[in-house]
């Protein structure tokens, strides 16, 4: 896993997009890889669109923003509609939340639906942690970082009162990701 990967996570404020981007970047850093993470959120904390960009590279990252996304992770329809065009044609992979996003029928990128929000509600009792479920599913299915690294940073960076829940969310996400057929 030394190739470069540009990953764009997007949704609306409050879904934990920036947190997920931070965890992904930290996991890549923990693996000793070159990584940059950025986040964009003006008034997004109050329900507007927000995105987190993570660039993992074999070389030091000169330009830390996503130019063409290899992976798009979408947790809202508006963010999906906005950022689908940023995703690499044909080679790009889109992970979308099946409850919150209806994929575009004309899209050329491979689309993978993950029932992150719905499963989180069913298994953990509320939507809190759906960001971690989605991120863990992406990590399991696509491997931008190792699962162990992700679990380690979730454990280290979660506030005490959320640690157990976040680790359960990660386990749920790995399980959803393992059901995705083929390499992506």
């Amino acid at each position: 896993m030394t190739e470069s990967k540009q990953i764009l996570l997007c949704g609306v404020g409050g879904q934990g997009i920036v947190t997920a981007g931070g965890l992904l970047g930290s996991a890549a850093f923990a693996e000793g890889r070159h990584v940059s993470g950025t986040s964009s959120y003006g008034a997004a904390a109050r329900g507007g669109e927000c995105r987190a960009e993570v660039v993992i590279s074999a070389l030091p990252v000169a330009f830390p923003f996503v130019t063409t996304a290899d992976l798009l992770v979408a947790l809202s329809q508006s963010a999906y509609d906005r950022y689908l065009g940023w995703t690499a044609e044909s080679s790009g992979v889109v992970f979308y939340d099946t409850l919150l996003v209806s994929p575009a029928v004309t899209a050329t990128q491979r689309h993978i639906g993950i029932s992150a929000t719905q499963s989180t509600e069913e298994v953990l009792g509320s939507r809190l942690g759906a960001n971690i479920v989605m991120l863990a599913a992406v990590v399991e299915a696509s491997g931008p970082v190792g699962k162990d690294s992700l679990v380690k940073v979730i454990s280290e960076r979660s506030p005490d009162r959320f640690r157990d829940r976040n680790l359960r969310a990660a386990k749920l996400g790995f399980s959803l990701g393992s059901q995705v057929p083929g390499d992506c």
């Binding site: 930290s26 850093f29 940059s36 993470g37 950025t38 964009s40 003006g42 008034a43 330009f63 830390p64």
Partner: protein, 380 residues
């Protein structure tokens, strides 16, 4: 020179940190003792983190009622003998200009971090580099101060420490011109084991506002040290007495304030050169945009084009001699800026070389592709 070596306040080694947190840790490492500020995007995270970290380190944190009070509190803290800083963005930077002028006139060391955005007024809360000329000319009177332009999380840490050192060394407010693009960036950061700090010169019994040298920096006593201190922003003599109708006093004071910066440009202003040895076109860039420029230059080099980058780590005092030197060697200089053209005019005034501006002011960073295109256009 009162340099001393101290231990870093974080364990040495590599960490993954945000730009905002790197500014805070740089200030802690520089042993900043006082912060006053008012929250504003994109530097609210800096303020929030300082509210936690400064008390842990025995330093003071105050949230003020506005930016004017923030910078003025820092001037007071500086005269009380501690290193002081504030953090803001464009709209607050505008409000702080009077205080910055006061700090220049009273020779109060402090650090003003400006997480720049677009503008004017509240403008966009996203990325921009709107305050480049304001850093030089924003306060009335035209006396220069020092402004640095960091481009990475590493430099937000190292540069914050340097900002404090320059402030203490030259006794003036140093403007640390960060950007939303870097304060919201997360990157690996190398924490060294030791930090070099400049400690304020003390020389009891000597005048606090005059030296024999026309470009000198006088020693700075603090209130409470037993010295009779008079601090005024009006024209004053070397002992701080107001002399507002005396041309000689005004001339001596203002020329020294000017010269203590402008006669030391080579010590203060830093640049970095990339691929310039055989370059026929140079990009002159600063801050985050210099990263885009470097990515663009490296791509064009792979295509065989003779292009290079002169990166300005310091905006003010402007490294005019470096620009002039590069201008002698290349045919064209391209200046990309996240504003509608600010530093390009200073670049143009420093060289007879053809200078082309590329400007973007829409709340987004300039992507490398935009710079490669502007270079191709400049060559065609």
């Amino acid at each position: 020179m009162a340099w001393r070596t101290v231990s870093s306040t974080l364990p040495p080694g590599r960490i993954y940190l945000s730009g905002a947190d790197a500014i805070v840790e740089g200030a802690v490492a520089a042993r900043c003792g006082f912060f006053a500020g008012y929250p504003i995007t994109p530097t609210t995270e800096v303020l929030e983190r300082i509210a936690v970290r400064f008390p842990e380190e025995g330093a003071a944190f105050m949230q003020m009622e506005d930016e004017i009070a923030s910078v003025c509190s820092c001037i007071g803290a500086s005269w009380a003998g501690v290193k002081a800083m504030t953090v803001t963005s464009g709209p607050g930077f505008s409000l702080m200009q009077e205080g910055i002028g006061h700090a220049i006139m009273t020779e109060a060391p402090l650090v003003v971090v400006d997480g720049q955005r677009a503008g004017p007024s509240t403008g966009q809360v996203t990325v921009g580099a709107g305050d480049v000329m304001q850093a030089r000319w924003g306060t009335h009177g035209g006396i220069p101060t020092i402004a640095l332009a960091p481009w990475s999380v590493q430099e937000l840490y190292d540069g914050t420490i340097r900002a404090f050192n320059l402030a203490e060394q030259y006794r003036l407010p140093v403007l640390f011109m960060a950007e939303a693009a870097t304060t919201h960036l997360n990157e690996p950061l190398e924490i060294p084991s030791e930090v070099q700090l400049f400690e304020r010169d003390k020389n009891p019994g000597q005048p606090p506002f005059g030296t024999e040298s026309p470009d000198g920096v006088p020693p700075m006593p603090s209130f409470g040290e037993g010295e009779k201190l008079l601090v005024t922003a009006s024209t004053h003599n070397s002992w701080g007495f107001r002399r507002t109708a005396d041309p000689a006093t005004e001339r001596i004071l203002t020329s020294r304030l000017f010269n203590k910066v402008m006669m030391h440009v080579s010590d203060i202003a830093e640049v970095e050169e990339y691929y310039l040895d055989d370059a026929e076109l140079a990009v002159v860039a600063y801050g985050f945009t210099a990263r885009s420029a470097l990515a663009a230059v490296e791509q064009l080099r792979q295509e065989g084009q003779k292009v290079g980058l002169l990166r300005l780590k310091t905006l003010w005092p402007f490294p005019a001699e470096d620009v002039a030197r590069i201008g002698e060697r290349v045919k064209t200089i391209v200046v990309p800026e996240m504003n509608l053209g600010q530093l390009v005019h200073v670049v143009s005034a420093s060289t007879r070389c053809r200078v082309v501006a590329y400007n973007q002011m829409d709340g987004t960073v300039i992507y490398p592709s935009a710079i490669t295109e502007s270079i191709r256009n400049a060559c065609s």
